[in-house]
């Protein structure tokens, strides 16, 4: 006889084991799925998970994908720690891409040393602005942050599409909805000769460490944690919820905006309609997989980036539809939430028949 019993204390083992268990279960699910569509599960898993790390080029590409995922996930981790349900990293990323691109195009062929920093700053500020509107609506009118941030994802997307069809379209681009290529002065330098790993990836890792430092060492970080886990206590202690909400949301918006501008000034080099294959949404899963810990997010972002890479490779090598990646992500989040249940509960086995 098996039944569920509440734990007296949350299991610290399960807190760490839960994401690993969720990954394992997702892989088991994957095997069943691939068998069902007539593909070899071992080969598919190899292509999905091992091949992305098999050579230096692939590893480089993996890190290129990790950068924006991590930047968004670090900001989201802080938001979720503060109990602010920001689902808007995607929109903030797109706003950053748009604002940054506009600035990069404004610099044109200029060789100014300020071109790149100002472009990045424009991206950051655009991301912050995109986060600021839902934050203001929440604090002023008590609107639901989840809904407004999702809405702003779509507004951001269509604004970007409008821009590449209109004011930012390359006049010499034969009518394609793309901007002109950016000049070298506004492109992010790559870190290594042979790969496309650019400065934005370094920004991402640095931001994770900064966020970790703020959260665990500073009084501000402590206030964020209190605000997130127990709002009445934060009020009682006299922490300003408004101030904390603004800081956390703007920080997340800035990082997502930086992710966006780093994509356009980094690997892409121009503004295109599909800047992001849903990095801002996947970052939600990354944040949870990393246990809302900025350093955990690094590992989780690597895993998620491998999955993105693997999805591309699986499509090329085995003809597996790329939608498999989204499905894997969804299943992963599903198993993660299911496994998290066992942090506070456990299975109890007993021989007694219940009456």
């Amino acid at each position: 006889m098996i039944h569920i019993q509440a734990r007296t204390e949350p299991s610290s083992l399960m807190k760490i084991a839960s994401p690993l268990l969720a990954i394992a279960l997702t892989l088991v699910f994957g095997c069943v799925l691939f068998s069902a569509i007539g593909k070899s599960p071992t080969q598919a898993l190899h292509v999905l998970l091992i091949a992305p790390l098999a050579d230096s080029y692939n590893i480089g590409e993996m890190f290129v994908k990790m950068g924006p995922l991590l930047l968004c996930a670090v900001g989201l981790s802080l938001c979720y720690r503060a109990n602010l349900w920001n689902i808007g990293a995607e929109g903030q990323l797109l706003a950053g891409a748009l604002g940054g691109s506009a600035m990069a195009l404004y610099f044109g062929d200029s060789n100014s040393l300020f071109a790149l920093p100002v472009t990045l700053l424009a991206g950051i500020v655009s991301g912050m602005l995109w986060a600021a509107i839902p934050t203001y609506l929440k604090l002023r009118f008590n609107s639901n942050l989840i809904l407004t941030t999702i809405m702003f994802n779509y507004i951001g997307l269509y604004l970007l599409i409008w821009a590449v069809h209109g004011p930012l379209r390359d006049p010499q681009g034969f009518g394609f909805p793309e901007s002109a290529m950016f000049a070298d002065a506004t492109l992010l330098p790559t870190l290594f000769e042979s790969s496309r790993i650019h400065l934005g990836v370094a920004f991402a890792v640095i931001s994770a460490f900064i966020a970790w430092f703020i959260l665990s060492k500073s009084h501000l970080g402590f206030q964020i944690r209190v605000f997130g886990s127990d709002e009445p206590a934060a009020k009682y202690a006299g922490f300003s919820g408004k101030k904390l909400s603004w800081m956390v949301m703007l920080f997340a918006g800035a990082l997502a905006g930086l992710a966006g501008v780093s994509e356009t000034t980094g690997p892409i080099g121009q503004l295109v309609p599909n800047v992001s294959p849903g990095y801002g949404y996947s970052a939600i899963i990354v944040a949870y997989l990393g246990r809302l810990h900025p350093l955990g997010a690094i590992l989780a972002a690597v895993f998620m980036a491998v999955l993105y890479m693997g999805g591309d490779l699986a499509q090329i090598e085995m003809g597996i539809p790329v939608a498999v990646v989204s499905m894997f992500q969804g299943v992963l989040l599903f198993f993660l939430l299911a496994c998290d249940f066992f942090i506070n509960n456990r299975l109890a086995f007993s021989n007694q028949a219940t009456n």
Binding site: Q5, F222, Y236
Partner: protein, 518 residues
């Protein structure tokens, strides 16, 4: 109590209930005769709640038998208990505020019972007269005082013709006059043969009304007694074991300089069923304890929130500290000026449940522990260990999560944390509510020590005995009005009790909340 030479109403034998990590009931046996008023006593965590929940079918015991009117029964759910004739009034009422009394009672009756009763309103009126409950079936619950709501709960049990009524700390929310009204009802019930199981922390009530008492400690029955033959002090001794000294007879002090002032404070209610504050004025002097009595929900929470700054609405020039207006300052800024608070809600407001005691120290005590915006964790850890030792907080260590502490120990920790900041003004709400005798004693002494050091203390409490014990001056709140403030030695329980019921408000706008009890 009439003597019945009948079978016992309820007999529990060797009831045992094991929770993960805690043996809540350990071979508990208890016998209740028809018409007996039986007190169940014990400190927090002694196993009283588990035992009554077992009787009411909420908790299934691991071992042991329940014999009801001479027959062994298995009570699998509260509805089985109600069918047997067992009724229970919980500490927190389960009434719908937007429904009438009669609708609320109807909700818990089965179709068969309703058919049997016929006209429910008539039945309620009849029972109400019979037992002096004074409950009108057509009234909406939100318009009832706490005492009246409790009587609705009792009525709900009576309608189902109970043979055993379980009351969990029924008097903690009542004015003294309401308490005596309740006791009259209980005596009538007892004379009719209804048994009553009565959980209380207030020992003088137990000696006043109960025929027998069973004392639990650590899940075991440690003693039984006839309360009439005992004194509150001797019963307290049975409850906590070796209680070194009784909590009594502290010297009263007179405050020195006026430090904290509330002047003509009026504030509309924030929530639909909240209480508006009406023209409150009082001053608080250094070196005194000002006690504010009142039944819960008469404006205490609202007063506390506006004083602490948690209620962010500004009330111009009506709150001042050291002669300077502070009504525009945020909660954090007020703390920096030397104000500290012990809120009613310990877990979830006074302390963050999932954080360690070290982190919970930092929650309000950051002075000296922050350098350049960074937290000096080692120093706070040291300081927290000292706090734990000084106030004898039972826990594994400074790393223990706040939620792992019992209510009394957490309260000692919070008191210690707030007192440790050497506040000029301490606002303290219900400091010993639900706290056992030993911890209450420690808390009382800590408060008096702080007063003697020159702090001004505002003590908001529902426990009128505690107020008389500690307060140097006293007042009462009712429906958002504050009574005159008087020296404790110049007043008595009767007067404060009447003020709690609102007699001081005069003839102006007396809402139905002030209706005094039967």
């Amino acid at each position: 109590m009439k003597k019945y030479n009948l079978v016992s109403r309820l007999e529990l034998t060797n009831i045992t209930k094991q929770y993960p990590g805690c043996l809540a009931n350990d071979n508990v046996s208890l016998t209740l005769m028809p018409g007996e008023i039986h007190a169940l006593l014990g400190e927090n965590g002694a196993g009283k709640s588990t035992l009554v929940k077992t009787i009411y079918g909420v908790v299934a015991p691991d071992k042991g038998d329940i014999i009801w009117n001479g027959k062994e029964v298995s009570i699998k759910s509260p509805s089985v208990a109600r069918d047997l004739g067992i009724g229970m009034v919980f500490q927190h009422f389960s009434l719908f505020e937007t429904l009438t009394v009669s609708q609320n009672i109807e909700l818990c009756l089965s179709k068969a019972q309703l058919n049997e009763i016929g006209d429910l309103g008539e039945r309620i009126t009849k029972l109400s007269e019979e037992y002096g409950l004074n409950v009108k079936p057509s009234r909406y619950v939100h318009s009832l005082s706490i005492g009246e709501r409790q009587r609705v709960e009792i009525m709900r049990c009576l309608v189902q013709s109970v043979k055993l009524l379980i009351l969990d700390e029924p008097t903690s929310v009542l004015t003294p006059q309401e308490v005596s009204g309740l006791f009259d009802v209980l005596r009538t019930l007892s004379n009719e043969g209804c048994s009553i199981l009565f959980i209380s922390h207030k020992l003088h009530e137990v000696t006043e009304i109960c025929h027998k008492a069973t004392i639990l400690r650590g899940g075991k029955v440690v003693d039984t007694c006839i309360p009439q033959d005992e004194t509150p002090a001797s019963i307290a001794k049975m409850m906590v074991g070796d209680l070194a000294e009784q909590d009594a007879g502290y010297a009263k002090k007179e405050g020195t300089v006026s430090i904290f002032n509330i002047e003509d404070l009026s504030l509309p209610a924030k929530q639909p069923f909240g209480t508006a504050l009406k023209n409150l004025s009082f001053e608080l002097k250094s070196g005194e304890i000002l006690g504010i009595a009142g039944v819960a929900g008469n404006g205490q929470d609202e007063l506390m929130a506006i004083i602490s700054g948690e209620d962010e609405r500004t009330v111009n020039n009506s709150i001042s500290l050291d002669g300077a207006d502070i009504s525009h300052l945020h909660a954090g800024e007020r703390r920096k000026l030397g104000m500290a608070y012990v809120p009613e809600e310990r877990l979830g407001r006074g302390a963050v449940p999932d954080m360690s005691l070290t982190e919970n120290t930092l929650l309000t005590h950051s002075e000296g522990f922050i350098k350049n915006g960074l937290v000096d964790w080692p120093s706070i850890k040291d300081y927290t260990s000292k706090l734990i030792a000084k106030y004898k907080v039972k826990c594994h260590g400074e790393f223990s999560e706040a939620k792992s502490l019992s209510g009394g120990n957490l309260q000692k920790f919070i008191m210690g944390r707030e007192i440790g900041q050497n506040p000029k003004v301490l606002i303290c709400a219900h400091p010993t509510w639900g706290v056992d005798v030993g911890a209450a004693l420690a808390i009382h002494q800590a408060l008096l020590e702080l007063r003697d050091k020159g702090a001004a203390i505002l003590l908001i409490s529902e426990d009128i005995d505690e107020l008389f014990l500690l307060a140097d001056r006293m007042a009462a709140v009712c429906d958002g009005y504050l009574s005159p403030v008087v020296k404790t030695e110049n007043t008595n329980i009767d007067q404060i009790g009447q003020w709690m019921a609102g007699t001081f408000i005069g003839n102006a706008s007396v809402s139905n909340k002030q209706e005094t009890t039967a």
